[in-house]
């Protein structure tokens, strides 16, 4: 299985690049002079101890935070200050550390919200829900049904998300990010709080998404085993600085990383 997954993949040129990012909240420096790139088609992990600035980094990429210094380049273009929805429209989708679904809505409706950036019919047609709006909705629904099929969540299609167990909610959130048909998928701790079986499922889905749709994935994860098996390249952050960058094997043998993780200077 693993070989066949590897065979079909190809990793292309740079999709996103962050250059010398510095982000501070008042006097606290969350990120200091961070640079790295994400290549098309790869699975890129961002790891680091608590408070290392991983989520801040993700929030910079997805437009939630605006860094004081540095540049974000996406698909060969420098990005100006943007609002999150503009980032989303550019083709970057994300999931959240604490699930951020609409709890009272069904799985299907939650997934449909992922399509909103691609709905073009104007307010008038939307309001009477005829003609273009209806046609568009049918097309979007079909797309969403493919994702439901892909994630194997047919049985919870009509179930309100708030009633689902945690692992399934995470899966629905991944589904919503997929529905946006993003070029780049940002996953903030997709496996946090899951049991072993749920983690295995989620890994399978991440690999399949990458393989099947060719989606580039950047993920933050605490579980080192998962990160090392899943990702092509790893960036290690610590106290807002970049500690190391390379393949899992390189990172694992890096003395700086070992020091930060196993405790050395600041244990």
């Amino acid at each position: 299985m693993t070989e066949s997954t590897q065979e079909g993949r190809k990793i292309g040129g740079t999709l996103l690049e962050v250059k010398n990012i510095t982000l501070s909240f008042g006097g606290v420096k969350a990120l200091t002079d961070i640079s790295f790139d994400i290549k098309e088609g790869e699975i890129r992990a961002i790891i680091g101890p608590n408070g290392a600035g991983k989520s801040s980094m993700l929030n910079v990429i997805s437009g939630f935070y605006h860094p004081q210094q540095g540049e974000v380049w996406f698909r060969g273009q420098k990005r100006g200050p943007m609002r999150p929805y503009e980032v989303a429209r550019q083709g970057i989708a994300r999931t959240f550390q604490n699930i951020a679904l609409f709890k009272g809505m069904s799985t299907l409706d939650n997934l449909m919200t992922g399509r909103i950036t691609q709905m073009n019919a104007n307010l008038f047609w939307q309001a009477i829900w005829k003609g273009p709006a209806e046609r568009e909705e049918i097309a979007h629904r079909e797309r969403v049904e493919h994702i439901i099929d892909f994630l194997g969540i047919q049985a919870i299609r009509k179930t309100p998300v708030g009633r689902l167990p945690y692992g399934l909610q995470k899966r629905v959130e991944l589904g919503r990010a997929l529905a946006a048909e993003a070029k780049l998928l940002l996953l903030d701790e997709p496996m946090a709080g899951m049991n072993l079986e749920e983690k295995e499922d989620m890994c399978r889905f991440i690999l399949d998404v990458n393989d099947e749709f060719g989606t580039t994935i950047a993920l933050i994860e605490h579980d080192m085993g998962v990160v090392m098996d899943l990702s092509d390249r790893v960036v290690v952050l610590d106290y807002g600085r970049k500690l190391a960058d390379g393949t899992p094997a390189e990172v694992r043998s890096d003395p700086e990383v070992i020091k930060a993780y196993l405790g050395g200077a600041h244990a």
């Binding site: 079909g8 079909e142 049904e145 892909f150 099947e212």
Partner: protein, 647 residues
Amino acid sequence: MDHQSDTFPKLLTDNAQRLANQVAMREKDYGIWQSWTWAQMRDEILALANGLAALGFQRGDKLAIVGSNRPRLYWGICAAQCLGGIPVPVYQDSVADEMQYVLEHAEAKFVLAEDQEQVDKMLEIQERCPNMHHIIYDDPRGMRSYQHDHLHDFAEVQALGRDFAKQQPSYVHQEILKGKGSDISIFLYTSGTTGKPKGVVMTYANIIMTARNSVNFDKLTQNEEVLSYLPMAWVGDHIFSYGQAYVAGFCINCPESETTIPTDLREIGPTYYFAPPRVFENILTTVTIRMHDAGKLKQGMYNYFMDVARKTGVKLLNGESVGLADKLLYGLGNLFVYAPLKNTMGFSRIRLAYTAGEAIGPEIFDFFRALGINIKQLYGQTEAAVFITMQPDGQIFADTVGVPAPGVEVKIAENGEVLYRGPGVFHSYYKNEQSTRETKNEEGWVFTGDAGYFAENGHLKIIDRIKDVGRFNDGSMFAPKYIENKLKFFPHIKEAVAFGHEKDYCTAFINIDLEAVGNWAERNNVPYASYQELAGHPQVYQMMLKSIEEVNRSLASDKLLSNSQIHRFLILHKELDPDDGELTRTRKVRRRIIAEKYGVLIDALYDGSPNCFIRTEVTFEDGRKGAIEANLSLMDVPTFTPVKEAA
């Protein structure tokens, strides 16, 4: 049988003309019920058959079918038959090694697999199955990067077939005409709970005659709707979703996935439905539990109208006369309770439901019949193409399985074994002449391995497997399963094991049903910390005692089995589990292993001691082993003097 319709491909051709625009098959895919008419289905099947021919499929070749109920897999059965080949459906949840045995034994040259999961299994065993040449898969997901010359996408094979049909337009048609009723139509492998699976060879005549007889018996029409959710490798599904569907021309519906079956059932609202007793049992349990949580008004209405239904519903269903007032009240109940309830269960349109395989509890049976659902029992076997006995409308009893099916003769051998012969009797076991001879004698009588007798009303009553039937020391008959079933009809008893062979009296092990007893404990403020503690609770013992007394009372009135009253019992400290080898995967009791493992307990049941210490090895779900220790109490049960028949 006339030559026009003696094989399934011929029936297909006929239906495609007669019922061209009627829906033959539906599948829920991407959230929508996609449908095919008989004419469309014929075109799909012919394209596949041509494609198979183009790949070199010959008369007599076997096509293994591996997967859940998907239209394309059903088409595979008929496509192989068009070319004079033999379809071999395989249980899709078997592991690779089990599949290997069947595929190797059947010498399958072609495989039609559902998806990546099944293809992976096939690739794993391919080296060991030298006959396997081509693998065709239905769902291409995840298959993009598989590169093998002998792997084919279903749609590609059909495209190949359409090209082939242009070059040789009459080839498949000629092959269809060559087929005749006495040809082999399918191999149905037994599930192999007792040793290696056996390939039951069926002819077209076996399946078609049986299907035709049963369609007439129950007056099935082309307007039936059936949900196909039971394994395709099982003879029942082959008859209900294939044989009868082709003969009567009705529509079969494939659920979206295993987990969506309840929703799909509700959406389709089948008119004709088969389920093992366990399914009906679960439905009743769910309804009961949900009614406990309902508001006072709803509960009151439910209880009142269910009483009405029990009084009137069964009579109405049996066509007996009912007073006008009762009829009106039942109508009212239908409006307020029965119809909405049936709608939630997916039984709004149901005309006929069958159950078989295990004994069904009388109150479960009565519940559904009271609601106006015509649920009936049948008794059958793979070797009989299902039907041995069936219950005719209006003659339904919970404890008997009906009268011989049309065309079938049934007799009881001297040792109590049930024998039958008829049009559905299988051709042979594939490559196993010895077993064939042991099961079917020269006159065509088949030994079922079941013990039974005909009740006074002419209905067959099945007691137990003949090999499990024993004798008490006084020579009277001991049928453990019959007693266990009676016990298991109580919702708080999950499993029971009865002892008595070569003993003076009957005793039993009881397994509590954690859900039901736990629920009861919650409602009655009985605290417990573990399964073991709950099982050993004195109040639970009292509850079981009452149930067993009831069983004894009913056994006392049975002239054949009145000696089987349970004298002593104990409640086991752990659930009997297939992982510990105590049950088979299909949850049948493994008597020999239990007798070995719990020998001390059995001895204690017969030496009169009030309690007994036991230490048992258990296997946890992750494979680790551990031990449970317990001190179990044993309890005596009052017995009753047999009710003697007036001489």
